[in-house]
């Protein structure tokens, strides 16, 4: 396998996800405006917002430490790494050596860790409340995700994302397999919670907590944090697509199949975002206490998926 070329593809993927994340957000804003019978802003509005924030001066709370100022960079760096690891336009993981389910899981936990730590570090009460919610969400959501990933890894006999994607896309694991089908539903619920879109907009909760851990950020730091949150949404959806719906990804590294894979990947993202926008406008936010029901539902379904793997063969 040509590692050099794969590495280039990985960088391409990271750039693609970073550059399209604000565009997708702009599209979902436009869809929301249309549903409110407004004309809405340009779909490039999120880029304008981010550029404007980048030019503004950054203020730092007096009691904050170095963590507060470095967290935005750390988050964006981890997310770029994740974007390189997860096979989105290809079927094989561009960083084959670390393209592992558990690496992805721990990197996502690391994002959570820094995100909530920055909120605590800023010393604002709103930020602290957002941080504690973020950690609570992690505690509730991770068992279900780990369970589904474990089942998938056992089904394919490998924890490498690329191998899983390839096997699913080639039909070695059929969509009709009970464990796979139920796992898909459980992971879909987990994905919905992880994106932090409206019914599960708990840690940032604009109207209630004034964007939670982001409360004290301004200027460049805020721009990077916002970019990180937008990228996280794309990456969570990309992970779901890579594990469960990798059909149409590029099987080899020829230019034609790479372009085709990119187009299909963007199409899938667009479908997901439009669906999420519809859901976002149809529902109200959950209270944090009610989220336990959704997460336990997801965990229960993932457990049933595991049982199906264990006993049905």
């Amino acid at each position: 396998m040509e590692y050099g070329k794969l590495f280039l593809v990985g960088i391409l993927q990271a750039a693609l996800i970073m550059l399209t994340a604000p565009l997708l957000d702009g599209i979902s804003r436009r869809v929301r405006a249309r549903m409110h019978s407004r004309r809405g802003c340009s779909i490039f509005q999120t880029y304008y917002d981010l550029f404007k924030l980048l030019k503004r001066e950054q203020t730092v709370p007096p009691q904050a430490s170095w963590l507060f100022t470095t967290t935005p960079y750390i988050l964006v760096a981890i997310l770029l790494l994740l974007a390189m690891i997860i096979p989105s336009i290809t079927l094989i993981s561009p960083l084959g050596l670390v393209g592992d389910l558990f690496a992805v899981l721990y990197l996502m936990a690391l994002i959570r860790f820094f995100f909530s730590l920055s909120g605590l570090d800023s010393g604002s009460t709103f930020a602290a409340a957002g941080s504690s919610r973020e950690m609570m969400l992690a505690v509730l959501m991770e068992p279900a995700m780990i369970m589904v990933m474990l089942t998938l890894a056992l089904l394919t006999g490998s924890s490498n994302l690329g191998i899983i994607s390839t096997q699913v896309a080639s039909g070695q694991i059929s969509l009709l397999n009970p464990a796979f089908g139920i796992g898909l539903i459980a992971f879909f619920l987990a994905t919905a919670v992880e994106t932090g879109k409206l019914p599960f907009d708990l840690a940032e909760a604009e109207q209630e907590l004034q964007e939670g851990p982001l409360t004290e950020y301004s200027g460049r730091g805020l721009a990077l944090m916002k970019l990180a949150l937008l990228m996280k949404q794309v990456i969570v959806i990309a992970l779901f697509v890579a594990l469960f719906l990798p059909f149409g990804g590029a099987a080899n590294l020829s230019l034609g199949s790479l372009i085709w894979g990119t187009v299909i990947f963007l199409g899938k993202l667009l479908v997901f975002y439009v669906l999420l926008a519809f859901v976002e406008n149809a529902v109200a936010r959950y209270r944090i206490a009610d989220v336990t029901t959704i997460t336990s539902l997801s965990f229960g379904i993932s457990l049933i998926s595991f049982v199906f793997y264990l006993v049905a063969s």
């Binding site: 009970p178 229960g300 006993v311």
Partner: protein, 216 residues
């Protein structure tokens, strides 16, 4: 043999719909999910009928369509409308534990199915295990829910489970048996929903755990 994975995945859908019936707090939603589940059951019957060329199953699916998908939900919705009870009382155990129990039940059902490997039904192992798990789920719904209508739905789930078992293991029993079972179920539902309505008239709620006040 192409229908085998279809039967298995449809039976998985059966488990998911029955979980929704058990876990949704709104009675109307539960009734609709029960109707949807009956449609899944009917599609399993049709698939089996095409696969094993069992003429009987066509008749089964027609009768099941009339009774399970339309008649039983209709009776339930009528009771819900006349009494005006929208939500059930909080169940005895929480959703988390309920789902864990469901997973354990599926496991137990698979273990129970193992001894059947001598018969030809083993190729429908998943479907057979699901039908058993379904029966257990219905039992679980009847035991842990306090609302009379929810207990009635649990009974219907048990009935669906036993129906699937029958369709897989003995699809060539005489028509009379099948008709007998279905009328049994419909009259059972009718009588129980009447009792639930009486309960509501007497106490103003459908909480079956208050029945102890009826003595004397």
């Amino acid at each position: 043999m192409t229908t085998l994975p279809i039967v298995n995945s449809l039976s998985v859908l059966l488990i998911l719909t029955s979980l929704s019936v058990v876990e949704s707090r709104r009675l109307k939603v539960s009734a609709y999910f029960y109707s949807a589940q009956s449609l899944v059951l009917i599609s399993i019957f049709l698939t089996l009928a095409i696969l094993s060329e069992a003429e009987q199953l066509y008749l089964w699916s027609v009768t099941a369509l009339v009774t399970k998908a339309f008649l039983v939900p209709f009776i339930l919705l009528r009771v819900i409308r006349t009494t005006g009870v929208i939500e059930e009382e909080p169940p005895l155990i929480r959703t988390t534990w309920s789902l864990l129990l469901a997973a354990v039940m599926v496991g137990i059902a698979f273990v129970l199915v193992q001894p059947f490997h001598l018969f030809a039904v083993l190729k429908y192992k998943t479907a057979l295990a699901v039908s058993l798990a379904h029966f257990l789920l219905g039992l679980h719904c009847m035991i842990t829910r306090r609302n009379a209508l929810k207990q009635l739905l649990g009974f219907c789930l048990m009935e669906n489970g036993s129906h699937l078992t029958l369709a897989i293991m003995a699809y060539n029993v005489p028509k009379l048996v099948e008709i007998g079972i279905l009328t049994d179920a419909v009259f059972g539902v009718l009588i129980m929903s009447l009792i639930a309505k009486k309960l509501h008239d007497a106490f103003g709620s459908m909480d079956a755990s208050q029945l102890k006040m009826l003595k004397g």
